[in-house]
């Protein structure tokens, strides 16, 4: 689940290779995950992350009066982070709860 799927064109444009660690950042937060070529083709400029603890680092609690946080269609920036480590789920939850 700690992955970010991109199109091969976006991977190339960012100078990232399949399997390399990247930092994904939004207005809300950031997380280190593994960049992979999308298993289901993505258009350029669009990334996909599976729902779970890593993606939730990037999601705001603003629900705009509906109860539903913005899980899709949010702006994000992807940068290479080859030397940064992906946290396992236990460490990630501990980091989150420590604030």
């Amino acid at each position: 689940m700690a992955v970010c799927e991109l199109s091969p064109e976006d991977l190339g444009a960012l100078g990232i290779t399949h399997g390399q660690n990247v930092k994904v950042a939004t207005e809300t937060g950031s997380v280190i995950v593994r960049a992979v070529i999308a298993s289901q083709p993505l258009p350029r400029g669009v990334i996909f992350m599976p729902y779970g603890p890593w993606a939730n680092m990037l999601i705001s609690t603003e629900t705009y009066g509906t109860g539903m946080p913005p899980f899709k269609g949010i702006q994000a920036e992807v940068t290479a982070a080859a030397n940064d480590k992906i946290l396992d789920v236990k460490t990630l939850v501990e980091q989150v709860t420590r604030g």
């Binding site: 809300t28 258009p43 669009v46 939730n56 603003e62 509906t66 539903m68």
Partner: protein
Amino acid sequence: MTTLSKKIISNVVCPFCGSTCDDLEVTVEDGKVLTARSGCSSSSSKFLSCNIERPLTPFIRKDGELREASYEDAVHRSAEILANAKYPVLYGWGSTCNEAVRAGLELTEWVGGVIDNTATFCHGPSLLASQEVGMSTGTLGEAMHQADLIIYWGSNPVHSHPHHIMRYSALSKGRFRSSRKERRMVVVDVRRTDSAKLADQFIQVTPNGDYELLCALRMAVRGDELEQNVVAGVPAERIEELAELMISCEFGVLFFGLGLTASEGRHRNVDVALSLVRDLNARTKFLIFPMRGHFDITGACQVSAWITGFPYGVDMSQGYPRYNPGDTTMIDILARKDCDAAVVIGADAASNFPAKATRNLAKIPVISIDPHSSPTALISEVVFPSSFVGIETGGVIYRMDGVAIMTKPVIPPPPGVHSDVEILQDILSHVKKLKTGQ
């Protein structure tokens, strides 16, 4: 080799997704599941992995550490937490049964808290939209037997509901449509999903462009001229072609997923999809269905609605049910740090909530009721292992179209592991004693 203790159980209901396929064949021996056939890989994995990473005793946090505890102590501690809380939230309910939801509603009323379910950030926006404009819907049987046009919009059932296409839509063998050749399938999504690969047409919408595209499609169905050449990344002529396909079908079905409810517009996206289908019913027959996710999330909403009048986000703190999504819903309550205790049941909050909500959840006492050890258990004050509904415990669940189905447990739960209903009723019984002093 077949032994006397080996048993094959047919027509078992799958407790994985909202499709609740009821044609599984499960082989059990000596209280263990050997095989689960006829279902998807997620279904078989759910049955075969039910005893992996599974706590068998309750835990209570003492001196910062979760320590094994007796069932009675865990019930007493949970009742104390809830009885003393000013504004507790009881959240989850998507992966349990209707009887547990009913017990949870009574418990919420006694502790004066909020009961919210996983629909709040799944198809909650669909419920909001249906409250405003209504929903032209039916049962999956009607889709299976009659539909000659199937549209999946913002939904990837090959992965989210793996047997949905085969049992209920394009690939199903219906009474009046018996083969794939007699049906057209269209997928609308931001990416060419594996479901799109099975479709006759794939329409790629730009992220957050669903509202515009649905509005344009609605205009085309009504015969209005589109002023733009391209809407949400889709050429006007393709929109007009799709409108013609929808008008000219004999029986159409639109299944929609979180692509509509979780992107910009949320309930407004669904509002226009429901209105589109209402318009289409002036020209042909058309149904619309939300692709409900957890296997009993429809039941959680329906039970809540027929007891309190509201499907999710129900606040009982004033002694009567109030409903105001965006205010009485779990994420909003946690973001404001309003609640002072929580029950999480049939869901894994710490894995699924935005980080800030999980952080605030970890600051209050949490009672977690779950068959597996989960990230939510890591931040809990009390942890109850519970039995699996549909595998070890029976109960009624509602399929995504609202059809009630009785589950068919195949093995007994491990010794000492209680069902969700038993745990909730025992906590409720102690809460009543604490609240009344009897």
